[in-house]
Every structure is written in structure tokens, then in C-alpha cells.
Symmetry: D2
């Protein structure tokens, strides 16, 4: 039985508590939030759970095995550090930390303490992403060409981070998982129209083997779009996360260079065949992920969405932030 | 009666010939193409027209008042120059020229000769773009925030230019028309997966007043998308050019910073109201544009899609090309 | 404070309990279900509520003011009758009863006892239907021409009623509410492919003033459709209940007969203008409806979705059933 | 070389002339229309063709082998009869004739004269319908359950026939082709809102083996819909003729009755699997059909869309008309 405590019961915290509570080998023993109204909601839904406003009561409690940190990113480092120092496994929201230095320190600390860190890259546990991963690993798409994601809608503006830190971690963690390569270059552009935080940003990531990724995030779009195109040499796919019926469509389409005998110029030939929408598993992603966290703790296995995975995402965000600042300077000059 | 000749009868040429022929005050007297099969098609559809394979026969013919140049971009400069030197008005395909220096030379030459240049930025004459322009000019959208266009599909790969020079001129000319400001910075990224020409590219253009434009062009997309989002302070719109019924949707949506008395932190408030799809005029854009060319010639008025407009587009393409090359170098290093 | 009890805690019951519990002037004092697992779920969510397996404990309890009957239709009559006889107001699921005779008896009984009956025609309380009603009442659509609804998807097959009794009551109650006329003729066709209950049915209802309604219900459709067209002389609308963003689209379109001087033949002329998607209120329909039930009880007002409204729907279902049986006979002959 | 003449050059005639002209073994020698402007258009596009206003000049011309009749239905019988009497093969627009008696007479006449009749059921030659036919014949869908088509949009009102005779022949010919059974019962409902011709109609056709077809046709819909659902025991499909990319989607979905040991009640179990959009051939249907007509003439083979096929469609239209009239009477009473 894993005894788990949750820090933060705002927008996402209730889902964390509900899912961990649902596993037979986990007990959510305490929930912390500085907002008393949030704690009242906890008690309404989970009568037996201890509630408190000071996270120190959790991170120092010897009874607790693992802590889920579901707060704004600015608190992640401090809370995770104390939890690890006190011998607790850590489940932490995305983005992992506010800086890569913080992420590196936590990773080293967990290593020393022989504890697990899992970063909540929830999308990696959706049926759609798992199916895409399988198609790539099976070679169905052929060598990858590009990953192109659009994640836009109206609001919600965050108070402490721009749209890049808010929305892009989803795509960066998926991209990292699917492509599995170290980025070579990050180029970001964007604009801040409502306050001083960017509400629209565009991010290009160059990978080895000529793989290209692009992410379009926007808090000020009149329509909601959650669409990702993945292009490969053999097949290409469209993942529309808003489609209730067929989230994934795989197209037997492509272009190839063909050199014909006696023709000097290389020709591009096209292939268009059937489209296929594989059935996607409909389990709640967070249920699968929290199950996996408990399994990793109990078996001592490092999860694939560990601190390193979280660090890789933070590094790209830092690079993007730098690129964005550079362009801003040039424009303002 | 304007006597007009057309050079180039490939993919787009037939539309040019058909539309100019349809105006009562214009006669298409000659069509030139180096491909005899194309000329046979001309004769099948327009029995009275003279056909030829050498464009010199056109640009030097004193009977001809105006020349439409519908060839690959590499021929634009030479043909337009000869036509202008021989006293002919020029209607030329997008992109105007292969370099800004060429564009400048042609503009100066036309000025000296008192002749008109019109660059075929066809989209500016569609009902959708004209309606968007009107909404912006009327202040319905409020101050502009961003212009974000996606123009992707499978093929056709061009042999001489990359996807940026092929597809982006559409968006650049629309963006230039709608925004009406000089760009401050151009950032481009992209990749070449099939041959050595980029088949996917992303272009950000920074404008004064915090206006941002982004263009996503791709020859290797499994699905066809032609969607542009335009965000303003008061309203936002989506132009889906593939929607047969409602191409334009205007959303009464937005976000504003609100400072409440006694509240230290500025709050972002949201507005979501009705959506409205104005009826769009359905005239063929090229019919309106060719009519306008004839009117400009006859009245001696400079068109708004003149050589200068073409030059502005070519300058952004050049800047984008440079930016793309820079990123490529960094990645390859 | 209205003391309310709920009979039936299967698929829909939990929503009924949750919504009535949410009103300050209502207390859900008891829930009855013959399934102990359902009662365990009640206690998990609503610790203070009394639970039981025998509905007689509810309908005879003098403490209880009102009863919500959320069982299969075959139990409605008996339970509602006992409840009314024992002086309780009744909130009953659609369809109201299994026969019009039952409905008439209940109406008379409630009248005599001075009690209210509300039939749970939930859709009448959605933002979409209320907006359509308003558009019709304001004359925006002009005189009505037709109401054409498609409500199809895969499953769930009911064990006791066919697709007509299961799905059509939604449309029949909406149609009754919007059109407000007595039907003149009901024609139904359909088929049973999986067992002996019709899984696909088509229903036409002729109204006075040349108003026509048609309902297409199907349990064996590969795709889910919830789309209704309402045609009026002045405007027409499409209500797509599955569209998360714009459920209602109003089209300024129509056709009119025009008689021109000197023209013998009457001509039909067309009008196509803007489309407009009004913002729809997003309150949960059942919250509005349960609030309304409490208000009706306390003020002694007869609700518009009273027993009579329920009876009108049952009468059409009976007529449809007859028509269906007739056609079946002819086919089998 | 088949020498063919075309009577009628209105909306559809130009497509007929263009397609027959495109075949190497066919010469369109004459076109007849009573409107001189139409004949001028013929000459503009097909300089060598003889034009005339009197169809008798065609049907009596011994040089002509075959006649395409592309007029309103009221002229079909008379023109086809004369053409057959004069030894000409006949290609005739849908619906074949105004009455089944006329159709029978023409069929008999053609038989006697050893001539071919082909009724222009163009949709049977589209890639989509041919693919559906193949899926049914291969048993991929399993035994058929239903065919459910919606064909609605705004206008064009016909002057001589109602929406049933105008639009339903498309679906009736497709249904006849796919199902291949004799109808057992036809039930039609509908309404006339603008003039005295029905502008909206609903048609149910009962077939043997429990196969059901339904057709929804409407001239007064604010949106254009061309969607057909075909349900089978093993698979179900949706044909959306307006989807430019994937017209056909095949769903591995279904419901089956399952009887479990020890369970008294039969249970319905569901199956939901992948969706698959087969690539559809994109040849112009009329090109394939006109090619087939020429082949049938030359080989003396009876086409599958012969007079009998046309007659079957007319018979259903007659039955539907009767059913419609019956319901109208009941309502008016």
C-alpha cells in the first residue's frame, strides 16, 4: 500500500486525488492547499483524508511514501527537493521545474536517495499518443519528416508564465517521446498583446536526421484547435484530439524522388491511398499514468517520463525563451 | 479595346486567357508557349488567337498593348523588362521577380515609360479577403493582434523554387494588403525531406504596433488546409477557404486586462458572444482582377497590387530565405 | 423546503439526485432502487440520504412532498398513481406513460388532488431549444414550414421499448413545444434487424397550417448525429447538438414565389444572406428544470411540461406504433 | 464510329456533349435545342456540330445511330419512341419516363427493334457507388440492414415536377443497384410550402429480407447535405458525397444478439473497431457511363442501367406519389 499526499487542489489536483484514490494499492492520506475552500471540497469528496494548509506537514511526515506536487511551477523545485530529502517519491506537474539547473539538482538528489521522480506528461498515456508511438516504432510511418502541432483557443491566461510555458510542454513532451532525439536548434517567435506575457508563440525545433518539429500555441484564438500532423516517408497521420469519434487518421500518402532512365531531372512522384482510423483505447490517461507511478515505485523501475524527460522539456523551453527574447530585442531596436 | 498577349499557357495561363477574353474591351490577340501541345489547346478553345513559341514575337509586336506573363518566376524579369521597354503594360504572376533588385529595376522602368505593372496577387480580389479588409478598415476587429495562416497539402513540388516561394506569396500579399505596415523582422525555419528544396517552412513576420504574422506552408501534408486566423482586440475571425458555404466566421470574442479597485493584480477578463458568417461575394477573383487591370490601363491609375506591392512580397521572401539559410547552417554545424 | 425522494438510481437517476440536492430549498431525503450496488453509490455520494429497495416506503411516507420517478416506463403509471394518491407531487421521466389512458388517469388524479406533474422533457430547458423557441416566438423565422430531426448512433438497445419510444420522445417534446399545434396525422415506418424491437424508425407528423415534422431515429448508425433543421418562411436554422462551439446556426435564406407583371408563370426566387450563430446559454438543462419544478410546487403553478405535455407525446407514440404495425402487416402479407 | 445526336442543351446537356465527344469512336453530329442562345453556345464550343431547333430533324436522320435525350421528363417518351422507331439507340435522362406504362412501351419497342436503351443514372458510375457495390458483393458489409439517404439543399425548384421526381431518382437508382431486390411497400410523406409542388419529401421503401430504405429530399434546406448511411450486419458505412477528400468511410461496428448460458434474456452486444476510408477512383462518372453506352451499342450487350432499371425507379416514384396523395387527403379531410 503506497501512502500518498497531494499538494495543490486547484484545477488539476482533484483529478490527481481521484485517480490515485482509485487504485487498490494506494491510499491518499493527506491533501494540502492554502485555500480553505479547496480543502472543504476535498473533505466533501474524500471524507477520510487529512487536510492542511502547510506543505511542510506533508513533506516531513514519515508516514507518507510519495508526494504529488500539483502547484504552479514556481513551487515545484522547493517542494520536490524537501520531499526527496525526506525520502519521498515525487510525482510532479509539467513543466517539471522553472529552470534546467533546478531539474538537474532534483534528478541528482533522487538518484542519491534511490527515489523515483515522475513528471506528469499526461498526454503520453492517452490512447492516441500510445498508438502513434506504436506506429512509429513498428516502422509504419517510415523515417520521420516532421511533427507539426497547433494548440490554440481562447484563454486561460496564466498569471506567472507565458503561453509557451503553459501550453507547449504538452507538445514538447509528446515530441520528445515520439522522436526520441536530442534537439539541435530551437527557434521561437511570439507576441504579447494583452499584458506583458506572450499569448501567442511559434516554436521550431530542429532534430538530427532532418526531423523538424513546429508548435503553434495561442491563448487568443477564437476557435479551439488541437491538431497535430506527423509526416513520415511511408505514411502520414493527423491527430485531432477534439474529434470525439476518430482522433487518429493515418494516410497512405507520400512523395518520393524518382530517377527515370534517360531523364536527367529527378522527378517527384506521389502516392495516395486509403485512409485508416485505428480504434483508440479510451482509458483515462491519468488513470494509466498514476497506475504506472505506483508500479514504478513498487518495482524500483525508472519511469520513461522521469526527471530526465522533464529536464529535456525544460531545456527546450529555456532555449525557446532565449530565442524569443532575442527576436524581441531585434524588433524593439 | 486593349490588345493583350499572354506568355505561358500551363496550369494558370488558361484562366488568364479565358478571363481577359471575357471582357468586352479586351482582345487576347496572341498566346505564346514553348510547348506545342499547349498551343493546340489554345487553338481548340480560342480559334482566332495567334500562337507562337518565341516570346520575342510578342514583346516586340507594336500592335500589342499589354502582356500577361504567366511563366515560372525565373523568366519574369527578362520578359517584363522587354515588354516594358517596348511600351507594353505588364500583368505578371506572383511572385513578381526572383530578386528585389529585379523588382526595383522593373518598377523604375515602368515609371519612366509611364506604364502599369500589376502583380497577380489573385487572392486580394476574392470576396473573402475583400470582406476581411472591409472589417479591418471599418474598425470592426479593433487594433490587429495577429495574422496566422496555414496553407498545406500534398504536392505539387515545384522544380525550381521551394515551398516558401511557391505558396507563401499568397499569404504575404494578403498580409501586406490587410496589415499595411512595413515588416520589422522576418524569421523563417523549415526543412527539405524529399529533395534539396524545402517542402515545409514556417515564417514569422514582426510588424510595428505589436502586430505579428505567421505562415505555415507545407507540400507534404496528408490533408489540405487553407485556414487563416486574424485576431483583433475587439473581434477575431477565421477564414477557411475550403468551406464551400461559410468561408468567413467572425467571432465576438476577446480578452482584456481589467484593473479592479482594491485588487493589486491586473486581471484578464474574457468576452464570448455571437458568431457571424457574412455572405461573401462569389465572383471569380481573376475576373475582378483582370477587369481592374484593364481599368487601370485605360485610366492611367496605378493599381494597389502594383510593382511596389510585388516588391514588398519579394523582400520578405528574400529575408525569409536568408533566415532559413542561417538556421540551416547552425543546424548543420 | 421541499422534501423529495427519488425512485430509480440507474443511468439518469444520479443526475436527478445531484441536481435536486443542489437547490437550497430542496432536500433529497430518500432514494430507492432494487439494486443494492446502486444504493451503495448513493451513500458514497450523498451520505445523509435514506436508501431502500421498496418504493412503497417512499410513496407512503408522509414526510415526503414530491417524488421523482426515474425508472423504465413500465413502472411509471403505478408509481406515479400511488404517489399522487398519497398527496405527493410527481416528477417523471419521459415518456410519461406506456399508454395515453394511463396518462389521462394520472392527469385527472393530480387535478383532483391539486398536485403537480412534471414530465422530464429535459431538452426543453437547454439553451439551444430555448433560443429556438424565442426565435420562433419573436417571428424571426416567419411562419414555420418544417422540423426535421436526425437522432442516430450505435446503441444502446433498450430491452423493453423500441427505438421510437426510446429516442423519439426527445424530438416529439421539442416539436410539441416549438410548434404548439395539434397533430393531424402520424405516419411511421421502420425496421427491426437485431431482435424483435425496431432499431430504426422514421416518423412524419402532419400539423395544421402545412407544418411538417420528421424524425429519424436509429440505434444502428455507425456515426452519432444529433441534427435538427427548422425551416421557416423568413429564416431557417440548423441545430447541431454535437457541435461544442456553435450549436445553433441561423441562416438568412429562403425561397419565395414571385409573380412578375407580364409573366404568366409564377417564379420562385431565392434569398441567401448571412449566417449567424447566437451565443447559447450554457447552464445544465436539468438544473434549470429541477429549479422550475420546485418553483411550480411552491407557487402552485402548472408547468408547461406538465402531464398534458407528456400525454401529447405519448399519443403521437401510440399513433406511430399503430402506423408502424400497419405497414409491417402490409409488408409481411 | 457511333454517330450521336443530343436533344436538349440546358444544364446537363453540355456535359453529355463534352463526354461523348471525348471518345475516339463517337462523333456528336448534331445538337437540338429550342433556345437559340443554347445553340450558339454549342457552336462556340463545338464548331463542327450541326445545330437545330426541331428534334424531328434528329430522330428521322438516317445518318444518326444514337440519340441522347436531355430534356425535361415530359418529353422523354415521345422523343425516345420516335428515335427507337427510327432505329436509333437511346440514352435518356433520369427519371426515364413520366409513367411506368410509357417505360414499358419503350422497353418493348427497343426489344423489338433490337436497340439499346440506357437511362442516365450517373451516380452508378461514380467511384463511391462502385466501391460500395463491391463491398456489398464481396460480403464485407454482411447482410444489408438499411440504406438511409439525405439529399437536401436550397433550390432549385423545378417547374414541372416535385422534389421527389427531381432528387429521389438519384437515390432510387443507387438503392436499386446496391440492394438488387423488388420493393414490397413504398410509404411517402411530404409537404409543399412555396407553391403546389412538394418541396420536401420522405420516402420509405420496404424490401424483402428485412431490408429498409429511406430517402430524405428537400429543396428548402439552409445547408447542403449529401449523406448516405448503409448498415449491414458486419460493417456499416457513411458516404458523404460532399467530402472532397474521403467520400466513403467504412466502420467496423455492429450489434449482435448474444444468448449466454444461464441467462434467460438475450443480450445485445456491440462491436466497435477501426474506421477505414478506401481510396475512391476519381474518373468523371459521365465519362465512364458514356464509354459504357458506346460499348453496349457496339457489342449488343444490354446495359445494367437499361430501360428495366429506369422502369423500376419510375414504379417507385409512382407508388410514392400515390402514398403522398393518400396522406395529403387524410390531412386535408
Amino acid at each position: 500500500m503506497v501512502k500518498l499526499a497531494v499538494i495543490g487542489y486547484g484545477y488539476w489536483g482533484p483529478n490527481i486525488v481521484r485517480n490515485f484514490s482509485g487504485h487498490h494499492d494506494c491510499e491518499v492520506v493527506a491533501v494540502c492547499d492554502k485555500n480553505p475552500a479547496a480543502l472543504a471540497r476535498v473533505l466533501g469528496r474524500h471524507p477520510g483524508v487529512r487536510v492542511m494548509t502547510d506543505p511542510d506537514d506533508i513533506v516531513t511526515d514519515p508516514e507518507i511514501d510519495a508526494v504529488a506536487i500539483v502547484t504552479p511551477v514556481s513551487y515545484h523545485f522547493e517542494l520536490a527537493k524537501k520531499a526527496l530529502e525526506n525520502g519521498k517519491h515525487v510525482f510532479v506537474e509539467k513543466p517539471f521545474t522553472a529552470t534546467s539547473a533546478q531539474a538537474e539538482e532534483l534528478i541528482e538528489l533522487a538518484e542519491r536517495q534511490n527515489l523515483q521522480i515522475m513528471v506528469d506528461h499526461t498526454f503520453l498515456f492517452t490512447g492516441a499518443v500510445r498508438k502513434i508511438k506504436q506506429l512509429i516504432d513498428d516502422g509504419a510511418l517510415g523515417p520521420l519528416y516532421y511533427y507539426d502541432s497547433t494548440r490554440v483557443n481562447l484563454g486561460l491566461f496564466q498569471h506567472d508564465v507565458n503561453v509557451l510555458w503553459d501550453l507547449a510542454p504538452h507538445d514538447l513532451s509528446i515530441m520528445d517521446y515520439l522522436i526520441g532525439l536530442e534537439p539541435e536548434l530551437v527557434v521561437a517567435t511570439g507576441g504579447a498583446h494583452v499584458n506583458n506575457l506572450e499569448n501567442v508563440a511559434y516554436l521550431t525545433v530542429y532534430f538530427p536526421n532532418n526531423v523538424l518539429a513546429h508548435i503553434n500555441v495561442n491563448w487568443l484564438s477564437p476557435v479551439k484547435v488541437r491538431t497535430t500532423l506527423v509526416g513520415g516517408q511511408k505514411k502520414m497521420l493527423v491527430w485531432n484530439d477534439l474529434d470525439p469519434a476518430e482522433k487518429l487518421r493515418v494516410y497512405d500518402k507520400g512523395a518520393e524522388v524518382r530517377t527515370e532512365q534517360g531523364v536527367h531531372q529527378a522527378l517527384v512522384s506521389y502516392r495516395t491511398g486509403d485512409m485508416w482510423a485505428p480504434k483508440i483505447e479510451e482509458l483515462e490517461a491519468l488513470q494509466v499514468e498514476t497506475r504506472y507511478f505506483l508500479d514504478c515505485i513498487q518495482s524500483g523501475t525508472k519511469p520513461f517520463n522521469d526527471g530526465e524527460a522533464g529536464l529535456r522539456v525544460v531545456r527546450i523551453l529555456e532555449a525557446a525563451e532565449q530565442s524569443l527574447a532575442q527576436h524581441k530585442e531585434i524588433v524593439l531596436a
